[in-house]
C-alpha cells in the first residue's frame, strides 16, 4: 500500500517497513502479571492436569489425532466433575441458571442443607406426609425487568412460575404464598396492577394465595418490586418422575415454540431498537400436564424451560441420567420473528427463557400418543418431537443442525451475551 492510501485515513492498510515502530519503539512499560491466571495454571499443574499437550503440534497422521483425542478425553472427564465455585464475589452469572449457578449450589447450598429431597435437584421437592400421601413443595423469586411487558407482568410470572414448578412433578397445585419486597417510592397503582394480575392468574389455575409477607427497602436498595412465591401441590399419583428416569430410547418433546418470553422481555427493556409483535408465553401448565399424563403413562420427566431455556434443561437431564440427548434443530419450533430477533442479537433460541413451555421426556413407544395429547390442548398446539435419548456420549446434548452438521449444545456459564457484530 502506498503512502497516499495511508493519508486517506483509517481503515486503510499501512505496510511500509520504515514507518514501523519496531520492538524498541513499543512502550517498555513495566509488565504486570495476571496473578489469578498464573494461580489457575499452577492449581491445574498440581493436579497433574496441565501437562503440555501441544509440543508436537503439526505432526501428521495418527499420533496427531490421538493427541487431540487425549485432550478431548480429558475434557470429558473434567466435565463429569462437579463445577467448582472459584469466585470470591457473586456475579450476575451465578443467577443465570447455567454452570456458574450449578457451581454455587454444589459449593454452598447442597453441603449446608444436605438432605435426600434437596439432592434430587428437581424444580420441586416431593415430600412424604404419611399414609402414602405426597405433597410437592417449591419456591421461586421473580426479579424481572421491566415489571410489565407484552403478554404479562411480574404478577403473572409469580403465579405461573411456581404453579409450573409444581405441575411438572405431576402435582395438582393448590396453595401459594406471596412475599413482596418493595422499593421505597414504588407507585401504589403499579402494585395494584401486579396484584390484580396475580389474582387473575391464581383464579385461572384454581390455586389460592393463602399467606404472604411485605417488606419495604430504602430507595435504590431494590429495583421497584421483587416477588417471591412458594407453592404446595398434592401428588395424586405414585409415579417416579424426574431427570434421573430418562432412558435410552426415550423421545424428547417440547410443548410449543420456544424463546418467546426471553426475547419479549429483552426487547421490552428498550435496549434494542427492534419492533416485534410477539409476546411473553407465560401460562400455567398444570392442565396440559394432566392431559399429557393421562395419555402417556410412560412420561419420564417434565421441566418448564425457564432460565437458560431448553438447552439448559436438557443438559440437566443428560447429566443427571448420564444419557446422551440428541436433538434435531430443524424440528425445534421457534416462531419466525423470534428466530429473526435471536439471529440479529447472535443469541440461540435454545438458551432463551420460556415461561409457559415445557420439555418432556417420554418412553419412545408413547411419543406419538404424548404428542397427540399435547397438541390437542390449547397450550400444546405447537408441540413437537425434537429429539431422542441415547446412551453415548453420556451427559451431553448433541445437535444435528438444520444445515446438516453436528455439534454439542453445551451448558452456558452465565446469561447468553449478545454478540457485537
Amino acid at each position: 500500500m502506498s503512502d497516499t492510501s495511508r493519508q486517506e485515513g483509517v481503515g486503510v492498510p499501512v505496510d511500509d517497513e520504515e514507518s514501523a515502530p519496531g520492538e524498541e519503539e513499543a512502550p517498555a512499560a513495566d509488565s504486570q502479571r495476571a496473578e489469578w491466571a498464573e494461580q489457575l495454571v499452577r492449581d491445574h499443574a498440581d493436579h497433574g492436569q496441565a501437562e503440555p499437550h501441544g509440543e508436537e503440534a503439526g505432526q501428521p497422521g495418527e499420533v496427531y489425532q490421538s493427541r487431540e483425542q487425549q485432550v478431548l478425553d480429558r475434557i470429558e472427564r473434567a466435565r463429569q466433575r462437579k463445577p467448582k465455585l472459584k469466585e470470591d464475589k457473586i456475579t450476575l452469572a451465578h443467577g443465570a441458571g447455567g454452570k456458574a449457578t450449578s457451581a454455587l449450589i454444589e459449593a454452598l447450598f447442597l453441603p449446608a442443607f444436605d438432605n435426600p429431597e434437596l439432592s434430587q435437584l428437581e424444580d420441586q421437592a416431593l415430600l412424604d406426609v404419611g399414609d402414602g400421601q405426597r405433597v410437592a413443595f417449591t419456591t421461586d423469586s421473580f426479579v424481572v425487568k421491566p415489571l410489565f411487558f407484552p403478554g404479562g407482568s411480574i404478577g403473572d410470572l409469580a403465579v405461573n412460575g411456581t404453579v409450573n414448578d409444581l405441575a411438572v412433578s405431576g402435582a395438582i397445585p393448590r396453595w401459594l404464598s406471596a412475599s413482596f419486597i418493595i422499593e421505597e417510592g414504588f407507585a401504589v397503582e403499579d402494585l395494584r396492577r401486579i396484584i390484580a394480575d396475580m389474582r387473575a392468574a391464581a383464579e385461572a389455575v384454581g390455586v389460592e394465595i393463602v399467606t404472604g409477607d411485605t417488606k419495604v427497602v430504602g430507595k435504590a436498595s431494590g429495583d421497584g418490586c421483587y416477588i417471591n412465591t412458594a407453592g404446595v401441590g398434592v401428588v395424586g399419583h405414585d409415579r417416579r418422575l424426574g431427570a434421573r428416569q430418562a432412558t435410552p430410547g426415550d423421545a424428547v418433546l417440547v410443548s410449543g415454540p420456544i424463546g418467546q418470553h426471553g426475547m419479549t422481555v429483552m426487547l421490552a427493556r428498550g435496549e434494542v431498537e427492534l419492533d416485534a409483535d410477539f409476546e411473553s408465553d407465560t401460562a400455567p401448565l398444570h392442565d396440559l400436564v394432566a392431559t399429557l399424563l393421562e395419555a402417556a403413562p410412560g412420561v419420564r420427566c417434565m421441566r418448564d424451560a425457564t432460565r437458560g431455556g431448553v438447552a439448559t434443561v436438557l443438559n440437566e437431564v443428560a447429566q443427571t441420567s448420564q444419557t446422551a440427548v440428541v436433538l434435531d434443530e430443524a424440528a425445534i419450533p421457534v416462531r419466525e420473528d423470534v428466530h429473526g430477533a435471536c439471529e440479529m442479537l447472535g443469541i440461540e433460541p435454545m438458551y432463551v427463557a420460556c415461561e409457559g413451555r415445557m420439555v418432556v421426556v417420554v418412553d419412545g413407544d408413547q411419543a406419538d400418543a404424548a404428542l397427540a395429547a399435547m397438541q390437542s390442548h390449547e397450550l400444546g398446539q405447537g408441540a413437537a418431537r425434537v429429539g431422542t435419548v441415547g446412551d453415548d456420549p453420556p451427559g451431553l446434548v448433541l445437535l444435528q443442525t438444520t444445515f446438516g452438521g453436528t455439534r454439542i449444545v453445551d451448558e452456558l456459564v452465565g446469561d447468553p451475551l449478545p454478540r457485537i457484530c
Binding site: M1, R6, G9, V10, G11, V12, P13, V14, D15, P21, G22, A26, A29, S31, Q32, R33, A34, W36, A37, L40, D43, H44, Q49, A50, P52, H53, A57, R67, E68, Q69, V71, L72, A78, P83, K86, K89, T91, L92, A93, E271, V272, A324, L345, G346, D392, P393, L398, Q400, T402, F403, G404, G405, T406, R407, I408, V413, L417, P418, R419, I420
Partner: protein, 373 residues
C-alpha cells in the same frame, strides 16, 4: 426464515462439499477464516462435517474481544471504578479477563458498568445522567468503528460533555500482514472478513494476493457462504491464480462504504502502535480519537494508567490467533482455561476459536456422528 434458510440448504451443501473434495484431491490444504463470525458459523452449524479431512480450517484473529490485551481491560476497569462514572460496553466485553478480573467482577465490586447494544445507547445514558460521566468502551474492527465515529460526531454536535469514548478500535489489515509475515505459518488461502469488508471493501486485500501469492475470498456468514468461499479459494489454487474475490457481493461493495470510511477518518486516526492480545505490538493497527474530538476522548480526559499485563506464560492465545496452534493444542486448553475460567480471550467470546471449539465441537467427531445418525 426468509433470506436465511436459502443459505442453509443441505442439498446445496452436499453438492458443494463433493465439489470441494474433488477439487482438493489428495492434497492437504490449510485455509484461514479471518473473522470470528466465520468461526462461530463453522462451529454452530457444523460446517466442517461437509469438508474432507484434508481441508483444515484455521481460525483467524478477527474476533474483536479476543485481541484486547489484558492491560487495556485493567485500564478500562480503572476508568469504570472512578466516582460518578458509568462505563458502557458490548455484551461480549463483560467477561473478558484483565490482569485483575473482568467487567463482571468489577461490577460485583460496585462499579456501574452497563451492557449496551450500540454506542448510541451510551449516548442516551449520558443524556439521561447529566451528573455522571459516561464512558463507552469502544472495541471492534472497522465493522463497529463507524458507529463509534457517528456517536462521537453526535456527542460533539449536542455538546454532551459528560460522554467520552475509550477507543480500542483495531484495523484488520496490519493483523493480516503480521500473520502472513509469521515464519511458522503455512496457509494456502484466506476467507476474507465479511462484515469488515462492508466498510473497507475488497481492495485493501490486494496485497495478500499480490505480495504473498495467496488467494483471498471475502465470504459471508451463513454456512453455505463459508463452503462457497472455500470452493472459490480452491478453484483459484487449482488454476494457479491468487486473487481477491468477493463471495459476499450481496452485502459487500468492492469499494466498501465511502461514507463510513469518511466518518471514521473524520473522528479517528491511526495510532503509531497498539498491543494485540497474543500478537504483541503491531504498528498502525488501531485507532485513536482525533484532536478535534478531544472533549470526548477518555484517554485525554482521564488519567489512563496504561497498564501492561504480560500474557501468562502458559497461555498460547497468540499461536491460536495466528493459526499456528489448534485450540486444543494450547497447553492450558480445557484444563486451567475453560469457558468458566477463561485465561485467554479466545476462550471468552462465542466467536473465539477456543470457546467455539470447546462449546460446540469438543468431542470425538465419530461418536457424535454415530449418536445423531
Amino acid at each position: 426464515m426468509k433470506f436465511v434458510d436459502e443459505y442453509r440448504d443441505r442439498d446445496i451443501a452436499q453438492r458443494l462439499g463433493k465439489q470441494i473434495a474433488e477439487l482438493a484431491g489428495d492434497d492437504q490444504y490449510k485455509f484461514m477464516e479471518v473473522c470470528g463470525g466465520h468461526t462461530a458459523t463453522i462451529y454452530r452449524h457444523g460446517v466442517e462435517d461437509y469438508l474432507p479431512d484434508n481441508i483444515d480450517l484455521i481460525h483467524g484473529p478477527g474476533c474483536p474481544v479476543c485481541v484486547i490485551p489484558m492491560g487495556r481491560v485493567d485500564d478500562a476497569i480503572t476508568l469504570a471504578e472512578q466516582d460518578d462514572v458509568i462505563m458502557t460496553s458490548f455484551g461480549d466485553m463483560m467477561r473478558v479477563p484483565g490482569g485483575k478480573g473482568s467487567f463482571f467482577d468489577s461490577k460485583a465490586n460496585g462499579a456501574d458498568i452497563r451492557m449496551v447494544y450500540s454506542p448510541l445507547d451510551s449516548l442516551k445514558i449520558a443524556r439521561n445522567n447529566p451528573d455522571k460521566r459516561v464512558i463507552f468502551m469502544a472495541i471492534g474492527f472497522e465493522t463497529t468503528a463507524p458507529s463509534t465515529a457517528a456517536t462521537l460526531m453526535r456527542a460533539s454536535q449536542e455538546g454532551l460533555d459528560n460522554f467520552s469514548v475509550f477507543c480500542n478500535h483495531v484495523t484488520i489489515i496490519p493483523a493480516l500482514k503480521a500473520i502472513l509475515d509469521s515464519p511458522d505459518l503455512r496457509l494456502d488461502g484466506f476467507l476474507g472478513p465479511g462484515h469488515v469488508s462492508t466498510v473497507i471493501g475488497c481492495r485493501p486485500y490486494e496485497f495478500v494476493a499480490r505480495d504473498y501469492g495467496k488467494p483471498i475470498v471475502t465470504s459471508g456468514f451463513e454456512p453455505l457462504d463459508i463452503l462457497q468461499g472455500i470452493y472459490q479459494t480452491l478453484v483459484q489454487l487449482r488454476e494457479g491464480r491468487a486473487e481477491v474475490e468477493n463471495q459476499y457481493s450481496r452485502v459487500v461493495p468492492w469499494d466498501g462504504n465511502p461514507k463510513a470510511l469518511e466518518v471514521m477518518s473524520h473522528t479517528m486516526e491511526l495510532r503509531p502502535y497498539f498491543e494485540w492480545r497474543g500478537l504483541g505490538f503491531i504498528s498502525h493497527s488501531a485507532m485513536q480519537v482525533r484532536e478535534g474530538f478531544a472533549a470526548h476522548d477518555a484517554e485525554r480526559i482521564f488519567d489512563v494508567p496504561g497498564v501492561r499485563v504480560a500474557d501468562p506464560d502458559a497461555c498460547q492465545c497468540g499461536e491460536v490467533l495466528k493459526g499456528v496452534l489448534k485450540p486444543w493444542e494450547c497447553k492450558v486448553f480445557g484444563t486451567a482455561c475453560t469457558p468458566e475460567t477463561p485465561i485467554g480471550t479466545c476462550m471468552v467470546s462465542s466467536e473465539g476459536a477456543c470457546a467455539a471449539y470447546y462449546n460446540f465441537g469438543r468431542f470425538d467427531r465419530d461418536r457424535v456422528q454415530e449418536a445423531v445418525s
